[in-house]
């Protein structure tokens, strides 16, 4: 598959949503260990908004689809998660302009723009034990796959793998952002819930093409 269009983007979001939904309890349990225990429900609400945006955007274009997904996520009462996820998807929307379909290069650029959107909201970097630990490597892996001439599904698979590794790496980190930072050293050994959500989402993105 060389290019993906509106329908594929819609379906990768639905697949991501499914992955999150299966893990709502686990995500909240991770958050209970180092935060306030609500990350699962919050992501569930974000995914409600995502699915609603996908279904209500039918007939629109790619940019509108992504914008609606982003605005929907932003509108939930989502603690940090709403603004961060919202910025990610709205950033992605910025990059697709009036494109009807995306090749691997455009896909990488879209995720980079999403990452840039998130960076406007937070100073967290890789190593700070946040969703950035999954998001940055995922975006980087997609970019590298594309540069190496991989297909869109291959690039997404690389992104998913990198995100999962990144999420797992948070176990060895001390939290420096979010509620978890209050726990300091005691966050060692716990996997970051936000990073886990990102990994699950990218897993869903990749699986949509299996």
């Amino acid at each position: 598959m060389e290019k993906i269009g509106y329908d594929e983007i819609a379906s990768i979001f639905n697949a991501a949503s499914m992955r999150i939904r299966e893990n709502i309890k686990e995500l909240s349990a991770l958050d209970a260990a180092t935060g306030d225990g609500d990350h699962g429900t919050t992501m569930g609400r974000a995914m409600d908004a995502v699915e609603k945006a996908v279904s209500e955007s039918a007939g629109s274009d790619l940019k509108t689809l992504l914008y609606n997904i982003g605005w929907g996520a932003m509108c939930i009462d989502g603690g940090s998660t709403g603004p961060l996820m919202g910025s990610l998807f709205m950033g992605m929307s910025d990059a697709v302009a009036d494109k009807e379909s995306l090749d691997c290069e455009a896909l990488a650029a879209m995720f980079e723009a999403g990452l840039a959107g998130v960076r406007k909201q937070t100073k967290a970097k890789v190593g700070d034990k946040t969703m950035m630990d999954a998001l940055e490597p995922a975006v980087k892996a997609i970019r590298e796959a594309c540069d190496a001439g991989k297909s869109v599904p291959e690039a997404l698979a690389a992104g998913a793998e990198a995100a999962m590794k990144g999420a797992e790496s948070t176990k060895e980190l001390v939290a420096r952002f979010g509620r978890a930072k209050n726990l300091g050293e005691r966050t060692l050994g716990h996997q970051d819930p936000g990073a886990t959500s990102i990994a699950l989402m990218f897993k869903g993105f990749a699986e949509a093409f299996k």
Binding site: G37, T41, R45, G78
Partner: protein
């Protein structure tokens, strides 16, 4: 196990509680646009408005203090979750006025992110506002960077003081200066004994051994800094008031406002016993408890524990603390 709470569908907690609240206090507040709690009798346009935001599940919390002399709009999120930026923007837009808006934000990442984006939207609309960020938690140390210090119960006396100044007709700059003065002179420390149950999830939001307590606990069970064996009321009180009075630099002759805010399941009986020791300790230091309040202002469901709050007061701050107000959970004649 069945959750032992009086609720219906856990997905509807926030809309139902807000509806019930606005029905119970219809003479003082109204609910608009689903998540905005506003004054039943709006403040005149020539006075500075006070807007704040925060998650539900902490009742009476912020919305309990909407009314004459305190808040104009409380933008409510879902249980323990900051409202999304568009809703916060809506709250600000509703209060748009030449006199301006004092925007009070509690330092929690979600609230701050939402406030940041809402402010960007408000700027585009030409809304005049100044933000006060409350961050009076001293659990990470009174000198810790602001990012690390959470906003706890201190927002509520701050609404009181700033709200009274706004009611008096002070300009936005003046109201902001008074609010910031109070903000810079306050400190809170929380202690927890037993966890709360998340009312939508049905699970305890943290764990604490049968014989343990934790000083420095956050507003949602985010862990604190001082897990220890259970201590007596007097021991707990003394550890906390010592740190708090140091944090605000209280010296002999200074006047403090002291608030004990129950977390939910801790009784007033216990809070009075704690207050007694706080007062004794401060007396010994020659520090005056000029004003005080013991009750439940900002709760965490049925968590057992409390927040101890102090603020160093000057005559002007005392005047605004004493000024009349009329809200569902604080009325001053």
């Amino acid at each position: 196990m069945v959750m032992k709470k009086f609720i219906n569908d856990p997905a509807n907690l926030t809309p139902e509680l807000l509806e019930g609240y606005s029905m119970a206090y219809a003479n003082k507040v109204a609910l608009v646009s689903e998540k905005l709690v506003v004054r039943a009798n709006p403040k005149p346009l020539d006075k500075v408005a006070l807007v704040t935001l925060g998650g539900a599940g902490h009742e009476p919390a912020l919305s309990g203090f909407v009314g004459e002399g305190m808040l104009d709009v409380s933008v409510v999120g879902d249980i323990f979750a900051a409202p999304g930026p568009p809703k916060v923007f809506e709250g600000l837009k509703m209060m748009k006025r030449d006199a301006g808006i004092l925007f009070v934000v509690l330092n929690h990442e979600g609230d701050v992110m939402s406030a940041n984006m809402a402010e960007q939207m408000a700027e585009r609309e030409g809304i005049r506002l100044k933000r006060v960020l409350t961050h009076e938690d001293i659990a990470p140390g009174a000198d810790a960077p602001i990012e690390n210090r959470r906003g706890l119960v201190g927002c509520i006396p701050l609404y009181k003081v700033a709200g009274a100044a706004a009611e008096e007709g002070k300009s936005l700059e003046e109201v902001y200066e008074i609010a910031e003065r109070f903000n810079q002179n306050m400190a809170t420390l929380a202690v927890a004994l037993k966890p709360a149950t998340h009312p939508a999830m049905g699970e305890p939001i943290f764990e604490l051994a049968d014989d343990e307590m934790e000083i420095g606990m956050g507003q949602h069970g985010e862990a604190g800094t001082g897990r220890s064996k259970m201590m007596s009321a007097d021991e707990t009180a003394e550890i906390m008031i010592r740190q708090l009075s140091q944090a605000v630099g209280a010296k002999s002759g200074d006047k403090l406002l002291v608030i004990l805010n129950g977390a939910g399941a801790t009784t007033l009986m216990e809070l009075y016993i704690v207050f007694r020791k706080v007062k004794q300790y401060l007396n010994e230091q020659g520090i005056e408890v000029a004003r005080s309040l013991v009750g439940e202002l900002l709760t965490v469901q049925e968590m057992a524990g409390f927040q101890m709050f102090v603020a160093k007061m000057d005559d002007e701050l005392l005047k605004y603390w004493d000024a009349p107000c009329d809200t569902p959970y604080l009325t001053v004649r």
